[in-house]
Symmetry: D4
Subunit: 228 residues, 8 copies
C-alpha cells in the first residue's frame, strides 16, 4: 500500500495529520507514523485509539512515543493515544470537565492531544449535574478558563450548566457511556446540540480528539495575537 | 355514535375519564362531556386541548366550566382546558417548574388538571439551567415540595438539576418548544429518560395532562394515609 | 484517580450515591464503595451491574455486602447488585410485576434497591397481557399496592392495563427483551410513554435502579407524613 | 394521461383495483373510476380517501356510489370512501374494534371496504385497555368472530389483549391518533409488530383499506371451502 | 422461580403457550417444557430458538421431541425448534416462500410450528425478485395455496409480487439478512408494511414463529367450517 | 445580493448550473436565470420546482422558456420546471417508469431535464409490481433501453424487478407518495438501497432532477465514444 | 405573567439574554425587551426570529432597534432579528460562508448577532463544494480569518473542505434547506459532526444565533488578551 | 437443500449470479459455486465476503479461483472475494477513489468484481476532503475517467467534490468506517444522497459489489456502441 500522507497539514491547518488506528493493521499504523516522522512536515505525530499490537508495532519502528490510556474498544481491549515529537509547553491550558468517571478515557484522549501541542489540560472528573453543587465548586476555575471541554454521556446536561458560568468558548463531547436511554451517545449529542445555553458547540460522540483539535484552534487565536 | 364512556374510571383508578378533544367534532365533545356529567361516576369532568368551537359546544350543553388556556394547535389556534365538577381544595399542592416561557401552556394544562382534583399547583416559569442560579433561587421551595413537575424543552436538563435538589418525586414533561436540534421534543424526552439523576420519571411530549395524573396518584398516597 | 464522591447525596435527595459498575475497573469499584462507606454520608451503599471481578474486588475491601443476581452483560457474563449498610425494614412494600420471565433480572435489580432502603418489593413474574386473565388474577394485589413497578419488554402493554386497575402511582420500566420488532427496548419505551392510561410514568430501558429510586421517593412521601 | 388500469386484478387476487385519491386530480379520479366500471373486470370499484371535490367529480361521471366518511386529510378537509358495484351480502362479517373514538375513521374505511365485498363489519368503538373491563365485556363477541380487525393508536396495546381472547386471525391497524409519544402511529406500529400475543399481523399506519383487503382474503378461505 | 404457565392458552386462542428460549437458563427451559406437558392443557409444546444446551436440558427431562434447525444466535451458535406432542396431520398446508438461501432458518421455524399443529408447510427457497421469472415459475402453486408465508430480507419486495398473484392471505416475515442498507430487517419490515399490494400483513423481524401462528389461526377458519 | 453563478459548470461537469427555486424570492429566481443566460456558459438553463410567481418573474425577464408541470409544494401550489436554451435532439432516449400515477410529477421533472439536454425520455406510468404482468408487458422496452429511471414510492420494489430484466444502468428515484408506512419516501429509499438486484443506484427522495443528471452523465459516455 | 429575566447573563457569560420570539405573544416579546433594556444589565438586547407583529410590538415600546431579515417561519411569513443597544465596533470580524443562496437567512442571523456585539461579519454566499473552485477562490480570506462560520444544508460538506484550509476555529451550522435526503437539516448536522476534518464544531440546525454566540466567545479570547 | 441457481442471469442482466457468502455454510458456498460453474450460464462466478473456511471449501471443489482480500467480518475474521472464469480484458477501466485507508477493503471488493468482468479498476486511496489538494492532484485522472466509484465513510463529502470535477457518472459507496457521528455508514449514506452535486448516485453501505455491478452496466453502454 502506498500511503498518501498529508505531511503539510499542520502548515495549512495548524494541526498535523494524525493516524487513527481502528481499521488499520499494526503494520499500516507503524508505516504511517514512521512516514509522517520522516516527512517534510513539522509538529506532533499522533496515533489514536491504538490497541496494544498497533502501539507495539509503531513504537518498534519509531521509538520515543508518549503513551496515554484511552479506554477500550468494543471487545474490551485497552486502547491508548501515542504521541511523538510533542511541542514545547505554551504556558496555556484548557479545562476538561467530565460528568462521570466513565467519561475519563475520552477526556484523557483530549488532554493527550492538547499536551502534544504544548497546552496544559487539567482534567476535573465527576462533576455531573445530579449534584449541581459539584459543578458550582468549580465555578471559579470554569469562569477563569480560556477554553472549556465538557465530556458527558447520558443526557449531557453538564454542557448547558457550564456554559452558563463562563465567558469562555465551550466545546461539548457527547460520550457513549450510560444506560437506560442514552443510545450510545445519541441522547447526549442531541441534548448538547439543543442546549438552551447560547454558544455551546459540539463534536462527535466520544471524539475527544476532535474536541482537542477545536481547542487547539481556539488557543492558537491567542498565539497569533501574542505574536503581533 | 354511541359513546362507550368509562363512568367508573375514577372508582377504579382515582382519575375520572377525561375527554381529549383533538380529532373529535364539537358535537362529539359536547356529547361526551354531558354524558360523563349525567352518568353514575363522580369527580371532575375534563375536556382537554379544546379549540374555541369545541369548547363552545361543550359549554353550551354543559354550563359551569372553568376554562384555562393551554397553548395552540399546529395551526396556531388557541386551545384550552375545561373543567366541570372541580373537587374541593385538598390543602396540598405540587410545584410546577418550567425551563422557559414557551413551556407555560403545558405547565398550565398540568396545573388545571391538578386544580380540578383540588390540589394547588404553583407554576414557576423560566428557571432554565442556562442560568443555574435561577434554579438555585428556588432551592428551598423545590426541597419542600411533595411532588415536582418539571416542564422543559430543548435538552430538558432542568429535570436532572432539580432532581438533585429534593427528596420529592419528580415528574418530567418534555416539550416540543425549542429549535436547532430539539426535534419537537424528542431530544428533551431522551435526555430526561437518560437523566443522570436517579429517580426522575417521564411522561410523553407536551403531556401536561399525564404528568398531572401521575402527580394526583402520588398525592393520593398521602390522602390514603391521612384516612388511616 | 481521585474520586469525587457525593457523600451527602442522601441528605439532599433521600438517595445515597450508588456506584454504577460498567466502565469502571474492579479497583475503581472497590475504591468508590470503600470511600462511600468511610465518608460522612449515611444510608445504603450500592454497587450495581457488577461483574464477578468487580463484585469480588469490592467485597474484598468492604465485607458484608448482600448480593442479588441482576442478569447478564452483553457478553453473557452474570451481573449482580451489591448492597452495604441496608436500612431497617420500613414495613412498606412496592409491587413489582413483570410481563415475562426474561424481565426478571431488571425486576430483581429494582427489588434489591428497594430492599436496601428497607422497603419490601414483592416480584410477581409472567403476567403479560397475551393472557390478560393472568393480570386480572393479581387485580386485588394491584389495587392495594402503594406503588407498582411494571417491568415489560416487547410492546410494553402491561403498563397500560395495570394502570387502569389501581389508584397507585405506576412506574414503567421498558426492557430490552423480546425479538421481532422490540428494538432492544425502544418499542416498549415508546409504548409506555404513549400509554392510553393516564398517569403512567416511565424510566429508561432496563433501568430497574431508576424505577426503584422513583419508588423510594414516592414511598418517602408517606414516611414524611407518618412523621408529622 | 393514459391510465394503465388493472381491470383483471380481482380475477388474479380476489380484490379489484381501487383508486387511491390523494395526489390525483378530481378529473384523474373520475376517469379512473369510470374506466374501471367500463372495463372487462368485475367486482366493486372503490375510490378511497376522496376529498369533496374528488368525490363530486367521480360521482358526476359515475352515478350510484355509496359514500362513507373516512376522517380528514392533513388540512382538516373531510374525506370519504366511495363504492360502486357493491357485491351481494355473503352472510359473513368481521369484527372491527377501536381503542378510542379518534380511531373511528380508519375503522369505518375498513368497514366500507368489507361491505363493498358483501361482508358485514360490525364496528365496536372505544374499548381501549386503559379500562380493560371494556374489552372483556366484548369477550364473547371477540371469541366468536371469524376475523378481528383491531384499530388503535397511542401504544396499540389493544391488539395484544384481543389476540389473547380468540382463536380468530387478528389484523392490527396502527393509527396516527394520540399525542405525547405516539409519533403519528409509529409507536403503535412497533408495539403491534412486537406484540407478545402470537399470531397478530399488522398493516400500515391508518391503513384501514389494507386491513379490510387482508380480511377479505381470509374470509375467502371460507368461501372456497363452501364451494368444495 | 415459580413459573406462571398459561396451560389453557390453546383453549382460549387455539395456540398453546410456547417456550421462547433466549434469556432463559437451560433449567428454566426444561422446567417450563415439563410443566406444560404435565399440565391440564392440550396440544403441541414448543421450545423455540433453543441453543444446544437448552435443547439438551429440555430433552433430558422430556424425551420424545422433534428438533428442527432454526439458524444461529448472535454469536453464531446453532439454534433449533423443538416440538413435543405434535398434532396429527390435518391434510392442509401453507406455502412458505423465501427470497434467498439466508432466509431459510426463519422459514424452517415457521414450517416447524405449522407441522406441530398438523399442517404441512412446503418451503420453496430462493425465489427473490431479482429474477422475477423464478417467482413466476411458482405462480400456479402460489395461486392454489390457502395461505402463503413470504420470508424475505433486504428490500422485502417478494411480498408485493406474490400478493399480486394469489387470492390467498399473505403473511410477510421481514428477515435480518442482507447488507448495504438492510438495517437488520428494518428496511424489509417497512417495505412490507408499505407494500403497494393490498392485503399483505406483516409480523416482526425474523419472527417465523409468529407468522406460523397467524397461519394456524387462518387455517383454523377452515377447520371450524368443516365442523359445521 | 450578488449571486455567485457557476457559469462554467457545464464545461467542468457536462451539466450547466440549474436554479433550484424553493427558498428563493421570485426576483432572486429571475436574476439567477438571466445571469446564467447572459454569462459565458453554454447549454440549458433550468429553473426547477418554481411556483407560479417564481416562474412568472423569470419568464418576464427571460422570455422563451419551456414549462413542464412538476407536482405541488407542501401547501398544494402547483410547481413547474422551466427550461431555456434547450439542446438539439441527440437521437437518444432514457426510459422513465413509474409505479403509480402519483409518481408522475417526479418522472416528468426527470423527463424535462433530459429533454433540455436533447435526450428523449419516454414516461411509462403505472407499472407497479402489485400486478407484475404490467412490468412484464414492458419487458422488451426495458431490455432495449440505454438507461432506465425507475420512479416509485411506497416500498419501491419496482426498481428490483426492473433491474432483473435489463443490462442497462438503472437509476432509482424514491418518491414521497404513499401512506401506511411509506414515511414520505424513506421506506422506498431504504428499499432501493437494499435492493437484491445488483447494480441499482439511487438518488434522493423525489429527486427527478438528480436522476436525470445521472442519466445525462451516462448517456454522455455514448457521446464521447461516438466522437472517437 | 411575571418574567424571570436574566439581567446579569452578560456579566456571567459575556452574552446578554436574548428574547427568542417564537411561541411568545407580541406583548410578551415587547415586555421582555423593555424589561431587559430597563434592567441592571448591559450590552445588546436581541429579539430573534420575530414576526412582523412581534417586531412591531417590541419597537413600539422600545424604539431604536436595528432590524435585519432572517428568513421565514413555517408558514412563509418573514422573520427578522432586532437589536437594541449595539456595542461599538471592535475592529474584529468573523467570516460567514454559505453553501447556497437558501442558507442566507441563517447566515444573516449570525451576522446580525455578531454586529450587535461590535464584530464585523462578512457574509460570502454560494461557495458550495459542487464547484470546489468557488471555495478555493476564497482560500486567502479563509486562511486569514480569526473565526469562520460555515452555513450549509444538504450534505454539509462545505465545513470539511473549509476546515482543511485554515488554522482558525470553524463553527458549522447545518441548515434545513435542500431536498431529496436532507431531512430538514439532519443530514447536514450528522455530516458536520462526522467530518473528517479535525476541529470542526457544530451547533443546532438553522441556529445562526448559537453560532454567533460561540464566535463571540472565541473572539473574546482575543479581547482578553488585548487587555492583558 | 436444493439450490435454485439463476444460471441465465448474465443473459438477462449482463451480470452473472454471485454467491454472497455470509449466512451460508462452507458446504452451501461450495455447492453454489460448483453449480454455477457446471450450469448453462456464462461469465464470471463470484463468491463474495467469504471467510477462510468458506473460501477453502469452495476452492477445494472448484479449483482455479482468484482471491482478493475484502476486509473483515464483525468478529474481525478476514474475508475475501473469489472469482472463477474471469472475462478477458476489455481495455476499459473505472477509477476507484477512497477517502481514507480504512475504506480500502470496500474499494478492493469493487475492483475485484470489475476485474472479473475484464475491466481495469485503478484504486487511488486517501484523497479525503480534509486536504482538498489531494483530490485536486487527481483532477486530470478524475476528469478523464469513464466511470468513477467514490468510497467514503464519515461524512462522505468526497462524492460531492469529485462529481463537480468530471463529466463521468459517479457511483458513491458509503462505508461504515469512522467514529464520532458516522453511525456505521448512515451519515455517509445520507450525505451522498443529499449531495449538492447533481448526478451522484448511491449504493448501500459497504456495498462495493453493488457499485461495481452498476459500473459494469454503465461500461456496457460503451460496449454496445462498440458493437454497432
Amino acid at each position: 500500500m502506498d500511503l498518501r500522507l498529508d505531511h503539510l497539514r499542520r502548515e495549512r491547518t495548524g494541526l498535523a495529520e494524525a493516524v487513527y488506528a481502528p481499521g488499520k493493521t499494526p503494520t499500516q499504523c507503524a508505516t504511517a507514523v514512521a512516514g509522517l516522522l520522516a516527512g517534510p512536515g513539522s509538529g506532533p505525530v499522533l496515533l489514536t485509539r491504538a490497541t496494544a499490537a498497533q502501539a507495539a508495532a509503531a513504537m518498534a519502528d519509531s521509538p520515543g512515543a508518549v503513551s496515554i490510556p484511552a479506554g477500550e474498544d468494543d471487545s474490551g481491549a485497552p486502547l491508548s493515544t501515542l504521541t511523538w515529537r510533542t511541542l514545547p509547553p505554551t504556558g496555556r491550558a484548557a479545562l476538561v470537565l467530565t460528568a462521570g468517571t466513565s467519561d475519563l478515557p475520552v477526556a484523557r484522549e483530549a488532554a493527550a492531544v492538547l499536551a502534544a501541542y504544548g497546552h496544559g489540560a487539567e482534567v476535573v472528573a465527576d462533576v455531573g449535574v445530579a449534584g449541581v453543587h459539584r459543578v458550582l465548586e468549580q465555578q471559579d476555575r470554569i469562569a477563569a478558563a480560556d477554553v472549556v471541554v465538557v465530556v458527558a454521556g447520558m443526557e449531557g446536561a453538564l454542557a448547558s450548566v457550564v456554559t452558563g458560568l463562563t465567558h469562555a468558548p465551550v466545546i461539548a463531547v457527547p460520550t457513549s457511556t450510560g444506560y437506560g436511554a442514552g443510545f450510545a451517545g445519541v441522547t447526549a449529542l442531541l441534548g448538547m446540540m439543543a442546549s438552551c445555553s447560547p454558544g455551546v458547540t459540539v463534536v462527535g460522540i466520544d471524539n475527544g480528539f476532535g474536541a482537542a483539535c477545536a481547542a487547539v484552534r481556539i488557543l492558537a487565536v491567542r498565539d497569533d495575537q501574542g505574536a503581533r
